[in-house]
């Protein structure tokens, strides 16, 4: 089955009260995958009084503008609940997409998971 049609996969762990989510899909392109991923992420944001979420992009090699839009929506939700959303381990080619769209100014982005976790302290 082409990966674009594979089920959206996330690995969710908790590290010192921070919800760490690692994307398992290499490509976050199609609407179905994006909807599945962000439905889960929005559930995680809703589950905590003050959502503290780190998104680990280590395995992500491609994402679309629709995925950027879903991230913006998630970021707004987390902000409205006085939480914090950090993005980490973004591949340089993907990070360039954030820079081109100036979304590197909207999101808190760190190079590694450890650097990302330090943001919450």
């Amino acid at each position: 089955m082409p990966e674009a049609e594979a089920e959206a996969k996330l690995t969710v762990t908790n590290q010192d009260g921070i919800t760490v989510v690692e994307f398992e899909n290499r490509k976050i392109l199609d609407e179905l995958t994006i909807n599945q991923i962000f439905e889960k992420l929005n559930e995680l944001a809703d589950a905590e009084n003050v959502p503290l979420i780190l998104l680990n992009f280590r395995k992500v090699e491609h994402l679309s503008s629709a995925a950027l839009g879903a991230l913006i929506t998630l970021n707004k939700k987390v902000g409205q609940r006085n939480g914090r959303l950090v993005l980490a381990n973004i591949h340089p080619q993907i990070y360039e997409v954030f820079k081109i769209t100036r979304l590197d100014k909207v999101f808190e982005i760190r190079g590694t998971t450890q650097e990302g976790l330090r943001v919450f302290r």
Partner: protein, 153 residues
């Protein structure tokens, strides 16, 4: 590069269905890889093609699976040309809002065309606005990197 009517050697007409469209996208990417484009070029082509296809389906064809998307392309060692046409009435491609303006940064949509422009060497629409042509040069041959928009601090 002008949007001429040069016929491209490959043409596929598919229903407006993103799953079907992605199979064509993968065929194109495989062909591009086989000719020796760099990973960076393939990333750019995939990103731009994905945005063009999604725009054709969602905006041009209003997600109507009874409509069609026509994808035509030419691939050689020097450049890739892809055209994506939908059956919609077209849109005002000359007046797309800037998604990087401060009042639009928090808007979830509207970045597809900007990303296409950033990642290919040429982008043009037909007069009606329902067909886009993307041209990406092989940087291994041309030695030139696609100029990305300047990033201001």
């Amino acid at each position: 590069m002008s949007f001429d009517r040069q016929t491209l050697p490959h043409e596929v007409v598919i229903p407006s269905d993103l799953h079907v469209a992605r199979r064509v996208e993968e065929d194109i990417l495989r062909a591009v890889a086989s000719v020796g484009y760099s990973r960076e070029d393939r990333f750019a082509i995939r990103l731009a093609l994905e945005e063009a296809i999604v725009n054709a389906h969602k905006h041009g064809n209003r997600s109507d699976p009874t409509r069609t998307i026509t994808i035509s392309y030419a691939i050689d060692a020097h450049r890739v040309i892809v055209r994506v046409r939908d059956e919609g009435g077209g849109f005002a491609f000359r007046t797309v809002p800037d998604p990087t303006s401060p009042d639009r940064l928090s808007v979830p949509s509207g970045r597809g065309i900007m990303l296409m422009r950033a990642y290919v060497d040429g982008i043009e629409y037909n007069e009606r606005g329902n067909e886009v042509q993307l041209v990406k040069k092989n940087t291994r041959v041309s030695g030139l990197r696609t100029e990305k928009p300047e990033v201001h601090p």
